[in-house]
Symmetry: C2
Subunit: 337 residues, 2 copies
């Protein structure tokens, strides 16, 4: 299996990206292809012991930044590392693409310029994997690709999310639920009530609507929403936990006694951070794109990139793309748009 | 000024409700009217020193519970303490109604059975007041009355929220923003982009779209959303902070050293709880209802009820209802539905 890693992805690229690719090559043994500015990559590689590691370089003269507009970057930078990397997957020279770069740009380049969508998919979805839940992993989609969604798109998200979770995260019969403001049938919006009716007949383990608190308690393995609500959900979660962390830090630093207390409890706080660390997961797929693409956070460290490669490897060996193609073809939610 | 307190509101009613009403009568000096089961209220009052306190009782033979359905409770229990209490306001025998009971039921009874809406209001909104932000208070609406909203309803929420915040919380020129997944014009849903255009011309200090993290940093005084997104926002915030609190508690209790650290830091954690304690605020208004109605949490303690009365008093003396009526009549967002 050959995984492409975008060397120009993170905010501090290419250092963490290259180091992460090396970790992956060492830990998993299969070839890793670094795509990006060859000079920069070689300079970075020279800092590490790479002898015997299956690492290749493919040059890409342009790099997407966080400031690039997703709508125009596809044409503005046709030789970006994202274009070149995804085309390696498209042309069968690699099995998956991993990037910690601009998510909107990656989606746009995948959808419009390179891999395009799996036949039958109406809209691809951004996936997020939360470090909560039974399995320590809850798959959430859409977290931002489609702000305005139709009910039948949500039904496809449910099917794609279920297949991904079963084949990649190895959760048998994943519980799929619809993010809502209550479990009762009367709750939710008109769109969600229509989506409920379309999702029910699908060959998945659908458990109905779920509230935010039950998502965090691991009440579902796959949580479905439109891209606006999903994005508000993850952003609010992140904002809420970081605000609370900040308030706790301020109060712990306010007196000498509590400073001593905080020092004694430091290992406990370290364990808390590790338990809610998104970098342990590494990245999440663009579901519906005709090839495995894993996107992670711009602030990712080398370990996150290594874990992103692990996520990509699991998706490839699980046969997720073929399963989605077949699943949509067999289900009632496949259709022309 | 005469404030009605629902004695049958909290989950543990009537004990906290009666005690809170007494605190309010003592602290603010004006008459408080307890509405509910007279026998129960008298039994509860007997436990306190009430001599000289301006407390009256109005009997109501029925009580709304958390299990009552908002859609049917108005007709099913026409003599509930909510009906009787709101009618006292409607008939001019009192100035405001405060309840810690079933929010959906209170809205339904206010809107359909008793006070009804302020002329010109298309939809009343549930308001939430977050213990964050510059002033320690950020007003959020709608947090659950209207899951599916039209852009013009959001424009009215913006006007009502601005007036409430200026007149009651005494924030001059409150900054009003629209909750979204990004600040750029291209972000948000179609509905939000339409709402932006309707809100811009209003005579308020509108600052555009705001992301969850900036809401928690106090980036706006009034945050507007539809009732579905607003409800998901507050529920996710609550779920996120309580999940993090639980994870921290587990890890602090995991070793002897961290247990000692936690004990030393106990006053700091107490200050954290106080800073994010919703009971310091007490309750928030049903905006658009033709009378001051403040609703708080079912788990409220006596202090929360006292603070709910304080909130009601501020709304009455600020003249919020008249200001909303006049504001809607003068603005372009007033219209028949």
């Amino acid at each position: 299996m050959r995984i492409v890693v975008d060397a120009m992805g993170t905010d501090n690229c290419p250092a963490p990206d290259v180091e992460g690719a090396l970790l992956a090559a060492r830990d998993f043994g299969d070839p890793v292809i670094l795509v990006g500015d060859e000079t920069l990559i070689r300079k970075e590689l020279a800092k590490h012991a790479t002898a015997g590691l299956p690492v290749e370089i493919v040059h890409a003269p342009e790099a997407v930044t966080m400031d690039d507009k997703p709508a125009t970057v596809g044409k503005a930078k046709p030789n970006s590392s994202m274009h070149v990397g995804m085309n390696l997957v498209k042309n069968g020279q690699a099995d998956a693409f991993v990037s910690m770069g601009n998510t909107g740009a990656a989606l746009s380049i995948a959808l419009l310029n390179t891999l395009r969508r799996i036949p039958g998919v109406k809209r691809p979805a951004l996936t997020g994997i939360l470090p909560f839940g039974n399995n320590g992993q809850t798959v959430l989609l859409d977290v931002g690709a489609n702000a305005d969604c139709r009910p039948d798109w949500l039904a496809q998200f449910a099917l794609m999310g279920s297949l991904y979770t079963r084949l990649t995260l190895k959760i048998d019969k994943p519980r799929v639920a619809l993010l809502s403001n209550g479990e009762e049938e009367s709750k939710g919006t008109d769109m969600l009530r229509e989506a409920l009716e379309l999702i029910r007949p699908l060959p998945i383990h659908f458990t109905g609507s779920i509230e935010p608190k039950d998502v965090l308690k691991g009440g579902a393995d796959v949580v479905i929403s439109d891209g606006f609500v999903g994005n508000i959900f993850i952003k609010t979660l992140e904002a809420g936990t970081s605000t609370l962390t900040e308030v706790i830090r301020e109060e712990l630093m306010a007196t000498t006694l509590s400073k001593i207390g905080a020092a004694l409890a430091r290992p406990a706080f370290r364990r808390v951070r590790k338990r809610i660390d998104p970098f342990e997961i590494g990245g999440a797929p663009l579901l519906g794109i005709n090839g495995v693409v894993i996107i992670g956070h711009g602030r990712s460290n080398a370990n996150a990139i290594r874990n992103g490669v692990r996520q990509a490897r699991a998706a490839v060996s699980g046969g997720v793309i073929d399963a989605i193609r077949d699943g949509l073809a067999r289900s009632s939610v496949e259709a022309e748009d």
